[in-house]
């Protein structure tokens, strides 16, 4: 690459013509690397020995020509042109010892690597497509129907599906705006009314559970609601000074008795 530094900044007429000819089908290029690769071929050398400086010049000429012809070049072609112009100056000027960036040679070497790699991939692609291919050169079994998987379809539904299906039909006309369902809700007012009636019988300590209304003990939802309401009502009655309430320890039964009841 160091030879490039001393090369004359001239390009032969034929090369110039070739570069101009390329301009006509700028659309035919798959990006700046592809263009560089094509330009590189005019050097007729192994890509490892390619003169990047010369290549950069060719590319810049190409871009200049394209501008003259008012061809719109995609931005990445122009970015590459700017970068190559920078590279060219790096390669031509003696290295600045204070500059910490990569040297022109390093940059040029990387570009050469990229070109070589792209060319290698092109060759690989060609080799790949030249291989014997399935359905063109070699073939799979033509008749595969006797491979059949016997597919037996059975249908299933559960009892739940059936019941939900039925429920869906039987209730579809019963749509109503959402309201809180109160079937399973036992209010504190109800509990309070009930407790007031029962209070007189609670002379001795009795479990809160025994005050739950009938029919609310088995269903867990109802039971929970009734227990909460009864407990709240009990507290209300304690506040009124009509009931006493106690719980011996955590989670043990809550017990109630009428105020002034006798200890056992």
């Amino acid at each position: 690459m160091s030879n490039d530094l001393f090369e004359e900044d001239t390009i032969s007429v034929t090369e110039r013509l070739a570069a101009e000819a390329l301009i006509v089908d700028v659309d035919g290029y798959e990006g700046p690397l592809d263009l560089l690769l094509t330009l590189g071929r005019t050097q007729k050398v192994d890509l490892r020995q390619i003169s990047i400086l010369q290549l950069a010049k060719q590319y810049l000429i190409f871009v200049e020509e394209a501008k003259k012809l008012r061809l719109e070049l995609a931005a990445d072609y122009l970015v590459m042109a700017a970068w190559l112009a920078f590279l060219k100056s790096r390669l031509l000027l003696p290295p600045d010892p204070t500059d910490e960036g990569p040297s022109g040679e390093e940059l040029a070497a990387h570009l050469a690597f990229q070109l070589e790699r792209l060319q290698a991939m092109r060759d690989c692609a060609a080799k790949l497509m030249a291989r014997d291919q399935l359905g063109r050169d070699f073939f799979a079994r033509g008749l595969t129907t006797d491979v059949s998987r016997v597919r037996k379809v059975t249908y299933t539904a559960t009892l739940l599906d059936l019941m939900q299906g039925y429920a869906r039909i039987r209730t579809k006309d019963e749509f109503r705006p959402f309201v809180m369902d109160r079937d399973s809700v036992y209010t504190m007012e109800e509990a309070l009314a009930r407790m007031r009636g029962l209070m007189g019988f609670a002379g001795q300590w009795a479990d809160l559970v025994s005050f739950l209304p009938e029919g609310w003990e088995s269903d867990p939802v109802k039971r929970r609601s009734a227990t909460a309401a009864t407990f709240a009502a009990s507290l209300e009655l304690v506040k009124e000074g009509k009931l006493e309430i106690r719980q011996s320890e955590l989670f043990s039964p809550i017990e109630l008795r009428t105020r002034g009841g006798r200890d056992e």
Partner: protein
């Protein structure tokens, strides 16, 4: 294609390939083609001067007792897997599919209201019942035709079968849970407005019939 044949005819100046090679060719063609192929079709593909019939004799012999046989079908030839190995091919996949919503609903109506006519089913579902749905249920043998109704037109009715009961683990169609049970089990998404629930169902003449047949279901 025709070009290729012309070329191969030109090449007939040379001798036909050796029989072993011809056998390979016949083998490859029989393998790759979907349809049985005649001797003349084989020869049309092979280089000029080939004797496909003889190659077939050799090939057939070569595959004797193998997992694949060379068989003659009419006046054409094909390769087929040996009949005794058919079981390897029949990978039976039983695909279990969920019954469609329409089918489930129709089935449910038949189960709860049997014997029920198609018109009654449609009235309850509020949409027409497709033939496919009923056919599917008949095919599954979950429903069957019941006795005709003594109403004008003498429409045929549907009832559920023993298979239905077996599948759903029911001893009797009357074991089906009633609406109230469904409701208390949380199976009903929409609950009836308070008040309507109890008497509403009964207003429905349809429901009357159900009540008649299945009054036990709705008891608490």
């Amino acid at each position: 294609m025709s070009d290729a044949r012309d070329v191969s005819q030109e090449e007939s100046l040379f001798e036909a390939p050796p029989m072993g090679e011809q056998e390979r060719m016949v083998e490859a063609v029989l393998f790759a083609t979907a349809d049985p192929i005649t001797v003349s079709e084989l020869e049309a593909r092979m280089p000029h001067g080939c004797d496909a019939a003889e190659a077939l004799v050799h090939l057939r012999k070569r595959y004797e007792g193998r997992g694949v046989h060379v068989v003659k079908i009419g006046d054409a030839w094909a390769m087929r897997t040996a009949a005794d190995l058919g079981f390897l091919m029949q990978k039976e996949t039983v695909e279990v599919r969920k019954l469609s919503r329409a089918a489930i609903e129709t089935l449910a109506i038949i189960a709860y209201h049997q014997p029920v006519t198609r018109a009654e089913i449609e009235e309850i579902r509020g949409v027409s019942v497709s033939r496919g749905t009923v056919d599917q249920l008949l095919e599954l043998e979950w429903i069957r035709f019941g006795r005709r109704k003594m109403t004008p037109g003498r429409p045929t009715t549907f009832v559920v079968t023993q298979d239905f009961l077996d599948h759903f683990g029911l001893e009797n169609a009357r074991d089906l849970p009633g609406l109230k049970e469904l409701r208390s089990a949380g199976l009903l998404e929409n609950r009836p407005p308070p008040g309507i629930g109890a008497s509403g169902d009964v207003d429905d003449p349809d429901e009357m019939e159900a009540e008649e047949g299945q009054s036990e279901l709705f008891e608490d």
